[in-house]
């Protein structure tokens, strides 16, 4: 399978429309050590030529249009995209579903609680029902692999499979108090493991805590794309951009003594890649000491258009 990074930034993208932090200002000024990034988005192309999306970013229309392998092959309408797998109900993971409203049959995979947070309190997602047949929502099962509808196995091999890895975290603040009380906390944020033809990768753009289960999946994977949101825990506070720490909003900081880069079991096998990078993160400056430090710790830094053949 081929994994394409259609977007590598955290929510808001890089630059963020209303942000004049050092990084956003340098990028707007044309500093060659910075490159623009759209909001985190993956596409996975399987052996049968069909693709699925991991999450549905607010930038999804632009991201699909800029990827020739996702263009329709047949008139009048067509797409190799057959499904979307969601890691959470956060705005930056789900808004792209509304870009996909143009009468295309679609399979949407989410934890039951994420589906409820979206469907029960947001009629707007009904636009996906305009398609013939309408979009089909699938509840992701716990602790087991699940197949992807319509994706066919390569001859002589088993069909591609996915599974969710619960990561803790919280439901987005737009979910009502009432509904939130009904939703199990361990379904709020998951990582996704995708496997085909004996190869496997993990995608976890939000890692509140590096659980033993996540470490185990990383250890058995050929590629891991993990939460590179913040360099330090107080990054938003010290930039006067927020009052919460990285950990308080569900992101293990990269540089802490017990942070992501220091957690060896998260980078031990295959290619470790940092993704979902916030506009404040100094690793976005390719001339920075932090960019060097992340690379020396063995990590690649995602950018839009990066591809991995597994």
């Amino acid at each position: 399978m081929r994994v394409t990074i259609l977007g590598s930034a955290a929510g808001g993208g890089f630059p963020q429309w209303n942000c004049a932090c050092r990084n956003c200002s340098r990028l707007r000024a044309g500093d060659p050590h910075f490159r623009p990034r759209t909001q985190a988005q993956l596409a996975v192309r399987f052996a049968d030529g069909q693709s699925i999306l991991l999450n549905a970013s607010p930038d999804l229309r632009t991201q699909i249009v800029s990827a020739p392998f996702l263009a329709p092959a047949k008139t009048p309408r067509d797409s190799p995209i057959s499904g979307v797998v969601l890691t959470s109900a956060d705005v930056d993971c789900v808004i792209g579903l509304l870009h996909l409203r143009e009468s295309h049959p679609l399979h949407v995979y989410a934890m039951p609680s994420v589906r409820r947070a979206l469907q029960e309190e947001n009629h707007i997602f009904r636009v996906l029902d305009r398609a013939t047949p309408p979009a089909v929502w699938h509840d992701i099962p716990r602790d087991t692999w699940f197949p992807l509808e319509t994706i066919r196995a390569k001859s002589g091999e088993s069909a591609p499979l996915c599974r969710a890895v619960p990561l803790g975290g919280a439901y987005p603040d737009f979910v009502s108090e009432g509904l939130r009380r009904l939703l199990p906390p361990d379904e709020a944020v998951v990582g996704i493991v995708v496997a085909e033809g004996g190869k496997q990768f993990v995608y976890a753009p939000s890692v509140p805590e590096p659980s033993e289960e996540l470490k185990a999946w990383v250890q058995s994977s050929d590629l891991c794309l993990l939460d590179g949101t913040f360099w330090t825990d107080d990054e938003m506070i010290s930039a006067s951009l927020g009052s919460k720490t990285a950990r308080e909003i569900g992101h293990l900081p990269l540089s802490a003594a017990d942070g992501l880069l220091a957690t060896r079991e998260l980078a031990a096998r295959g290619r470790p890649v940092l993704i979902h990078i916030n506009n404040t993160n100094p690793i976005l400056d390719e001339a920075s000491a932090e960019h060097d430090e992340a690379q020396r710790a063995g990590w690649e830094i995602a950018h839009d258009g990066m591809e991995f053949e597994l």
Copy 2:
């Protein structure tokens, strides 16, 4: 004031992600008679340097980032955008509000029924409440001018004003039957008139029927940007892309005997411009007879980046 067209296409944009109609295919193939267009979006810059948005398209992040005059001027966060005026609750008019979730205080102007269709059945718009102060929703009054909060008058002149022109039309299909029964039909779709310093323009990206009131506002305006969605009434049907006529989905076709181009009162004064152009519309082909015909009838054809000083 200065009116900038940040996006000129109908919902789905051009090319549309899953469309392989003649126009989308020619554009993807690099035919120089076609140019890409994002979904319909206007920005209006007033004499005091502040801007408002007319509608909030699904492409809004990309559109703002590509317009230098909308960049923040002050660290750490800032924007000259102080408000958004909505013409309907359609997905292609409102999804951009979710791009504006990054803690920026905002004034949102909508007909009371459009506000209800969005807020009462869609918790996701609560992300706008994260700002300090939270977003303020203003009900647009009927049959009168309303001022724009925070926009200051040029010295010696009156402050900019807006007003809504009811156009009929329908509420989007994601609105529940129950709520729809409570909403007055004439608030579903409006045009917007904006005036400053003795100049005035009309924006109406969806014109179900050319009412006498709309004609009167067009006649007294220096610029009108009107519904250029479809060339013929059966355009979607004959392209095998849908089962409804242009009129059935709220758009007066351009070429009909009683269509937009033949309605002289819609083009009689100032600059008439066609906007919200669907990917199937032959006027997108700059070498087409239809492109010529629209221009000969006195209309300009909007493209992304077009600007008008009034």
